[in-house]
Amino acid sequence: MNTATHFSETIMAPSTDSNVKGENSQVSYKKDINTKTDRVLQNKKHANDIFDVTEYLQSEKDKEVIFATNACSKIFCQLFYRGDLYTWDTPISDKLQCVIYVHYFHIFQETSLCALMKFVAAEGKHPLQNLDLSEHYNFPRELLRTLVEHLLSENEDMSLLISRFQEFLEMDDVRYYVMSSVRDNIYRVMGRNKKAVIPVYQNNVFALLSTINVPSSEASKMKNFLVKQECKFEHKRAFEQMWLVFLKFKLPSNMYKKILVILHESIMPQMSDPTLLIDFLSAAYDIGGAISLLSLNGLFILIHKHNLDYPDFYKKLYSLLDPSIFHVKYRARFFHLVNIFLSSTHLPAYLVAAFVKRFARLSLTAPPTSLLILLPFICNLIRRHPSCRVLIHRPSTPCDDPYVMKEEDPAQSHALESSLWEIKTLQKHYHPDVAKAAMKINDPLTEQEDDISELLELSTFELMERELKAERKTIPLEFDTATELLKSSREVLGVHFSLE
């Protein structure tokens, strides 16, 4: 297309024919939209130009869409303020939402989202219908509902847009209505899908839910409104219901992990009745593996603060212990909790002994970082429960290890009749610190417990750094001087591999 001639054309006949707008150049569409916007705002007569402007929304050019979106928001906000709008023009809002749908680029979604929220605000201030005064508030719930529906897409990942939406959630009324509409939405969508797992949708929901924070003291600080209102919301209740509905349905396993990680910090404290989570938590605890480990935290809070009685808690905890606990990401959290669970001195000796023995057996496969937690931990347990001292001190004749590793029930494991030979093995561990920690069982343990809290987050590299930074006066060298790469007195590598 020859731009020069085209340019002259547009100047000669500016914006007369809206049907050729698709061929307009940059300047012309701006001008076109601007003039039309002005005309609409100046006089009601030109109201039909609105349709021309909205046509642009479906344009294929990015800039036009953005420009048109802004223009639309300007027009409608003005109209709202003047009170010229009597019935909500649904097609237009639909078109704007189309924008959210159609365009993948973040920036369009963002501008249209902002435009929509402006509409929400404008409509809230200038309601379309004169509602009866008996109702305290008027909030464009319908509009917000559609917005939420689009945000919680079943097909696309909307996390970026949701994070943008977060700023609107600062406002108490928006948050409240979002929460209620989310609840309805989940019901509807999950009902439609017959309770099957929809990962994308659930991800979106989770992204939205995790951004919602209910202020702690409810009545005092409710001052942040999008639309001026004088009413009280039952935020906590709405929050609780929303989450419960979400958690009621089956979730993908990584979603479980995500939820459980934030559960005790950001969900439970904001609920009015956290005990309602018991179903979810016990279900999670039964799943096994890392999810069980994570659900311990929530369970602990329920048991500790909400008087929950969980039968066979220790038995289940015992069965959770397998070699993988040393390698999962949540190792520190797990040991922290296990330490708390086993801190009571009222636990029966057989139980503690079973735990100790199991930990010891597992330690045979653990990496040094875990061993550095585990060994002081075992020592602490024995200190707390002096009746378990027989594990490290029992003068008697040699015998087989009576401990039954495969037994699920700690009571049947015969741990108290066993002895911690595994720790004896670890005294030969290659890492000096581990070996030293294991040496402690050679002597009667001291009264003072070791503090393991600072060891929990220890990584292998930190351990390495510790070793590297230590100042040494002399550096011993190998006694035999090497002559070749694969020729030393204790060659193993050279037996299996050779230099190419």
Binding site: D322, P323, S324, H327, L364, T365, A366, P367, L391, I392, H393, R394, P395, P398, C399, D400, D401, S419, L420, W421, E422, I423, K424, T425, K428, H429, Y430, H431, P432, A435, I441, N442, D443, P444, T460, F461, M464, E467, L468, A470, R472, I475, P476, L477, E478, T481, A482, T483, E484, L485, L486, S488, R490, V492, L493, V495, H496, F497, L499, E500
Partner: protein, 790 residues
């Protein structure tokens, strides 16, 4: 008035001092000061209850007079005249008596000494301190104290004129003059004459010197032109000292000719010996490293080689000097020649033993020089010599220089070592180490310390390049070892840095991605080198402990996705086993990893869930033989190779397991540790499909692991000596100073005491100084008033 009073005072104090113990002073109430006591302490004897201030003051004044005043008087004076004549300062003797006494003393002295047996004469008469009798003998022995003969004459005259001398000398002089001129010269004239004479002499000497110089230079040039024709070393006799150079110069020419004539026969015989001599001679200039080389352990063969090399090198030198037939060499050679050239320039500058050296060098050359000689003297077959010469040139080209600059950066080292074979790289490094040995210069230590880091980097590069050049790495090991033994700290630092960097990057990848790839070959090589350099059996070691952790991290956190990863993992396992083989320490990660690898060989996944497998994904990488299909269909050669590779990996894996079983069989939980492996091997491993050696290995391992854990005695605490009960006998502490601060430690008390003492001493010193100044001021006043009154 004042003077009188002081003298009176002095008199009194003298008296007091002299009769210090006199009871009347102690009784005299004006002299005695009683130190009043506040309390009487029973049983304490006080020394200082009565003081005698007058006495002590006079004593102090006296002491000052003896020491301080004397020093004060002698201040700013370097010396003083002391008249040692008899009775000079004695005021009691009258002058007449003095003179008499002196005369007698004089007489006595002369009497006592030499004239003991002199009977006829009482004394010898002198004039101007010289014996008249001596002078009458007219012996004109002129003692000249100067060394040089040309000066001697001058000085004789000079002494005569300048010091006048005795009458005899003058007389003699005038007597000599009388014959020629018959009239005495005035003193002025004499002096002028003298000056002229001395100048003339000086000029003569100058010209003589110049002539000698010229002659030398000329001879040098001539010598240079013929020296190349010589194939024979000048006999030792000719290499004479610098001092009698003019003589040598005069005789050198005929000698050299003679030598050149007889050179042909001699060269073969002398070659070897002279090689040795030569090295001794100019070892300082260029041969320091050469000597080191010879001193190496390479022995006799090597020395012969060196001889040849030197010949080649020399040839190049001479080519340089002749300016004609210098051939283009590669860079290294050029560098070397620059150095050599520089040294030659030095030789010429330092023109002392230049000539000798040149003659040495000239005669030194064996084959190549022979060719030159051939052209002039026409001796020997030309073709052979030509060939020899060429060969020598080739050798010289291929030959490495002897000195290397120590690389300042990694790129320097790389440039130095690249494009050389592994043997030559070793040689280069060896020579670099030798020339920068810390004992040679101050900065060498730092250079070599840096070199270790660069070398490790270079080794890493060699290992990562495609294809990896591990032979060179292996060849470089002795050098690395040597450096490490020289600088353990620097080596430790360098290895630590590499380990820490690699560990850090692995940790970061783990945090970002959750899994990390297996370490690259350079890290594996580094770990191997670590095992070679540092003792892995130490309980705690700054290098090997982190290396352990690194291996542990790699074995637990790195993911195995391909056969290559399996291979790397097996290398790590080998290394781990090497690390613990001596100390027999327990390495759980090693067994975990081996178990995981064995799982890869199993095709049915039934057992996988029950046993620990974190990072080795249950894939069928190592599945060789599948039960479901009878035999794997070998579709292509590549496939076959792949299968062979798998089999060899399985073999290594099983062998490592076997080594582990023998290593750890003494551990108390041996059975528990190996139980999972046993289960796997027994129940799941498809042994039937493997070749016989692997099957044997398999059964050996199964034999080594017991089915039932063995019996152990339950743990008991170590037996300890019972701690004795606390006894309640009182602890007795000796209190030495009552009323003082107690409860301090011994050191604190001592410190306090010293501080107190110091304070007192300081105050005392101040007081003394004040008293000194007062005393000096008083003396000054006294002295000035005394002098003014005089």
């Amino acid at each position: 008035m004042r003077q009188g009073s002081t003298s009176q005072n002095r008199g009194l104090s003298d008296k007091v001092r002299k009769s210090k113990a006199a009871p009347e002073i102690q009784k005299n109430p004006f002299e005695v000061k009683i130190n009043r006591k506040k309390f009487d302490v029973l049983g304490r004897k006080s020394k200082h209850d009565v003081g005698l201030p007058g006495v002590s003051r006079s004593r102090a004044i006296q002491k000052r007079k003896e020491t301080l005043l004397k020093e004060f008087r002698a201040k700013d004076k370097n010396n003083k005249f002391i008249d040692r004549r008899f009775g000079e300062y004695d005021q009691k003797i009258t002058p007449e008596e003095k003179i008499l006494q002196r005369f007698t003393l004089e007489r006595q002295r002369t009497q006592d000494r030499k004239d003991m047996y002199n009977l006829n004469e009482e004394e010898e008469l002198t004039h101007y301190g010289q014996s008249l009798a001596e002078m009458e003998k007219m012996t004109d022995v002129i003692d000249s104290d100067s060394d040089s003969e040309e000066k001697g004459l001058l000085s004789a005259e000079l002494t005569a004129t300048h010091f006048g001398g005795g009458g005899g000398l003058l007389r003699k002089k005038s007597a000599g003059d009388e014959d020629e001129e018959h009239k005495p010269k005035s003193r002025q004239e004499l002096i002028e004459e003298l000056i002229i004479k001395s100048k003339q002499e000086k000029r003569e000497r100058q010209t003589q010197k110049e002539e000698a110089q010229e002659l030398t230079e000329k001879l040098d040039q001539e010598w240079k032109s013929i020296q190349n024709l010589l194939a024979h070393k000048t006999p030792k006799a000719e290499r004479k000292d610098e001092t009698d150079k003019p003589k040598v110069l005069k005789h050198l020419r005929p000698n050299t000719e003679a030598v050149s004539e007889q050179g042909g026969e001699k060269e073969d015989d002398d070659g070897d010996e002279e090689g040795g001599e030569k090295e001794d001679d100019d070892g300082d200039e260029e041969g320091g490293e050469k000597e080191d080389d010879d001193g190496d352990e390479e022995g006799g063969e090597k020395e012969d080689d060196d001889g040849d090399e030197e010949g080649g090198e020399k040839e190049d030198d001479d080519g340089d000097e002749e300016g004609g037939e210098k051939e283009d060499d590669d860079d290294a050679e050029g560098e070397e020649e620059d150095e050599e050239g520089g040294e030659d320039a030095d030789d010429e500058d330092a023109d002392d033993d230049h000539c000798d050296l040149q003659s040495d060098e000239g005669s030194e050359d064996e084959d190549a020089e022979g060719a030159e000689e051939e052209q002039v003297c026409a001796e020997g077959p030309p073709a052979v010599i030509e060939e020899q010469k060429k060969a020598a040139q080739e050798a010289a080209k291929a030959e490495l220089p002897y000195t290397f600059t120590a690389p300042e950066s990694y790129s320097d080292l790389k440039a130095l070592l690249q494009d050389h074979g592994s043997d030559q790289q070793c040689l280069i490094l060896d020579r670099t180490l030798k020339c920068h040995h810390p004992s040679l210069a101050a900065g060498n230590k730092a250079k070599l310390q840096k070199l270790f880091g660069f070398l490790l980097e270079y080794v890493g590069d060699l290992a990562t390049q495609n294809p990896p050049d591990l032979r060179t790495v292996s060849a470089l090991i002795p050098q690395i070892c040597g450096l490490c033994q020289m600088f353990p700290e620097a080596a430790c630092k360098a290895v630590q840095t590499l380990l820490s960097d690699s560990g850090h990057s692995m940790e970061e990848t783990l945090e970002v991605k959750g899994r990390a790839p297996m370490p690259d070959l350079d890290m594996l090589v580094l770990l191997k080198i670590t095992a070679l350099l540092f003792p892995s059996s130490d309980f705690r070691h700054p290098v090997t402990t982190p290396a352990f952790l690194y291996i542990s991290q790699a074995l637990t956190r790195c993911v195995v996705l391909s056969l290559e990863d399996v291979c790397k993992g097996l290398i790590l396992c080998c290394l781990a086993l090497e690390f613990v083989s001596l100390s027999r320490r327990f390495f759980p990660e090693l067994l975990n990893f081996l178990l995981g690898l064995l799982h890869l060989t199993v095709s049915d996944k039934l057992c996988v869930s029950e046993i620990l497998l974190h990072l080795i994904k249950p894939n069928e990488l190592l599945v060789f033989y599948n039960n479901k299909h009878a035999w794997p269909v070998i579709s292509s050669l590549l496939h076959l190779l792949c299968l062979c590779f798998r089999l060899s990996l399985i073999d290594s894996c099983l062998d490592l397991v076997k080594r582990c079983t023998s290593l750890y069989k003494d551990l108390p939980s041996f059975a528990h540790i190996f139980q999972p492996i046993r289960t796997l091997l027994l129940q799941h491993l498809p042994v039937e499909g493997y070749p016989a050696p692997i099957q044997d290995l398999h059964s050996e391992i199964l034999d080594a692991i017991p089915e039932q854990p063995s019996q152990h005695a339950p743990l008991v605490f170590k037996k300890k000596k019972p701690i004795p009960l606390k006894l309640f006998t009182p602890k007795i502490v000796q209190i030495l100073d009552y009323g003082k601060k107690r409860g301090n430690t011994k050191e604190e008390k001592e410190h306090e005491r010293l501080k107190h003492k110091y304070k007192r001493e300081f105050k005392g010193a101040l007081r003394e100084i004040r008293k000194d100044t007062r005393f000096l001021a008083r003396e000054n006043v006294y002295f000035s008033s005394f002098s003014s009154s005089e």
